[in-house]
């Protein structure tokens, strides 16, 4: 904790304008049952989603409930390693805790078989060549480094397939 008081020309102490209170709090997060399944799937090198028993949509990562029906999702679905970039932006802003060199592509990736896109990093392509509809695949860390963590997926990269037609993913925008 420190404070700064501005010294005026006459030597008078001015008002205190800053008071630094460092705050550090530690938490034990709960992944939850559904997200734990997803994380364990990542440790096995696969994407595990869940299907809503009411609307039959497949959510990945599953969060344990269908956000529109408000019921538990239970049926597990193993999804493809490939998907479509529905939309994206190119991040060129530095921020605290950033681990990726800017500029980088932050994309919404719709895995084949899923009904919800999620955010993913796109690499192995110049930023000005990325496109909506681009087909991509997940690149995983080596098997011995796989773990129940998002870090198991290094990034997504183009998988060489032709771009998906806009009509096939426009409802996911």
């Amino acid at each position: 904790m420190s404070d700064t008081a501005t010294e005026t020309e006459g030597g008078e102490r001015g008002p205190v304008t800053h008071l630094a209170t460092p705050i550090r709090l530690e938490y034990n997060f709960t992944a939850g049952i559904a997200q734990s399944r997803y994380l364990r799937g990542l440790a096995e090198g696969k994407f595990i989603g869940q299907r809503c028993p009411v609307c039959h949509k497949v959510y990945v990562p599953a969060r344990g409930s269908c956000p529109t029906d408000g019921v538990a999702t239970t049926d597990e679905v193993v999804l493809s390693n490939s998907g479509t970039v529905t939309t994206y932006c190119i991040v060129n802003v530095p921020f605290a805790g950033q681990t990726i060199e800017i500029p980088y592509i932050c994309a919404q990736v719709l895995l084949d078989g899923a009904n919800l896109s999620f955010m993913g990093l796109i690499q192995e392509i110049p930023t000005d060549e990325v496109r909506m509809g681009m087909r991509v695949e997940a690149v995983w860390v080596p098997d011995d480094e796989l773990g129940p963590t998002l870090a198991s997926v290094k990034y997504f990269r183009p998988n060489g397939e032709p771009d998906a037609d806009y009509e096939t993913y426009k409802e996911y925008l």
Partner: protein, 360 residues
């Protein structure tokens, strides 16, 4: 059957359903959404309705329990707000979410509302987290923990001669004995007062038994208006009065042995008119039960905390709403005619809400 005339508002509003999660020291595997999901399901199933039957939804929670911003946003997934709903959130105990819903129900475009609150107290260090609730310039930098603050209040109360350490032990023992009949309670049992008094102080003059447990929990209530309430429940618990008041934040400027905000809210809600059968008080420390009880002039004829109160389970952010739910349950099951519920927020009972519930 007709609702009693409310003291405030012009549309009679009742609690028709209450559900709560098991109060646990550590919920473990389930996250907040998974903890809430069965509670929301049960509160609707109790009265045979769905999310499509409520015109307003309001919740209470705080980001600092979970350690990330917008924690209430994902919690909405436990309800399924689709098609889009009229929905709001308070960063307060969910008892205040109920207040917002009660206000909203005064307008005649809707006739039922869902209220819920949730929080997992086991994720972080409450002693540090609650220091951040204090004045950020002159109090928070000193990191006072809530138990030490409560000890200041308890000391003032003991010195005033209005209670004794013996009475504080008796309050703790009574609450936890009552909790034996509450299947959702976390701490319940028969405790020997002499043994309790033999415990060491945690922070003098507070011993461990005078402190609330650390609890993960959630609860939900369905409110309904007039005839709709009678369609949903045989004996709706009518909210005939509800009010909340705040005191200054400056602890040194308050008489910590009294709770004028509780008394004023109680006056407005009609809690001081007598005839109260049971009261559920949100008094996390045994010493605070003395203060709240006095503020509401609750005599020995009033059954205080039949659920065991927050000394039996203290799910932060839903504990106040649970008091309303527990009080309403005694009307819904026909065992009480007039019940009082109290909720608190802030350090040392700074802010208080009082509701009076009555049978029709």
């Amino acid at each position: 059957m007709s609702p009693p005339t409310p003291r405030q508002g012009h549309r009679p509003v009742a609690v028709v359903s209450f559900a709560q999660a098991d109060n646990l020291r550590r919920e473990g595997a389930r996250n907040e959404v998974e903890m809430l999901l069965p509670v929301i399901g049960e509160v609707f199933a109790n009265v045979g309705i769905t999310k499509d039957d409520v015109g307003f939804i309001c919740s209470g929670s705080t980001d600092y329990l979970v350690g990330g911003p917008f924690s209430f946003v994902t919690a909405l997934d436990a309800v399924g707000v689709w098609p889009p709903r009229s929905e709001s959130h308070v960063e307060m105990d969910a008892a205040w979410a109920l207040y917002e819903a009660w206000v909203r129900l005064q307008e005649d475009d809707i006739d039922a509302a869902l209220v819920y609150g949730f929080g997992k107290s086991s994720l972080g260090n409450l002693g540090e987290i609650f220091a951040l609730q204090l004045d950020p310039y002159v109090m928070a930098p000193l990191w006072p923990d809530p138990v030490s603050l409560a000890a200041l209040q308890a000391r003032a109360l003991l010195d005033s001669g209005r209670t004794t350490e013996q009475e504080l032990a008796e309050i703790a023992a009574r609450n936890r004995r009552r909790a034996l009949t509450n299947p959702n309670a976390q701490v319940a049992g028969e405790f020997d007062v002499a043994e309790l008094l033999a415990e060491d102080y945690v922070v003098s003059p507070l011993r461990r038994h005078t402190l609330p447990p650390i609890t993960d929990g959630a609860c939900a209530i369905v409110l309904a208006v007039g005839g709709r309430a009678y369609e949903l429940a045989e004996r709706p618990a009518w909210i005939t009065g509800i009010d909340h008041r705040v005191e200054t934040h400056a602890i040194g400027a308050r008489d910590l042995t009294h709770s004028p905000s509780t008394r004023k809210a109680g006056e407005i809600a009609g809690a001081l008119d007598g005839g109260i059968d049971i009261a559920e008080l949100h008094a996390p420390f045994a010493s605070q039960e003395v203060v709240v009880r006095d503020a509401l002039s609750l005599g020995d004829n009033v059954d205080v905390n039949p659920s065991g109160g927050v000394l039996a389970a203290n799910p932060i952010m839903s504990a106040g709403l649970a008091r309303i739910g527990e009080a309403a349950s005694r009307i819904l099951d026909g065992t009480a005619g007039r019940a009082l519920a109290h909720a608190t927020s802030g350090p040392l009972l700074q802010q208080n809400l009082v509701a009076v519930l009555e049978r029709g």
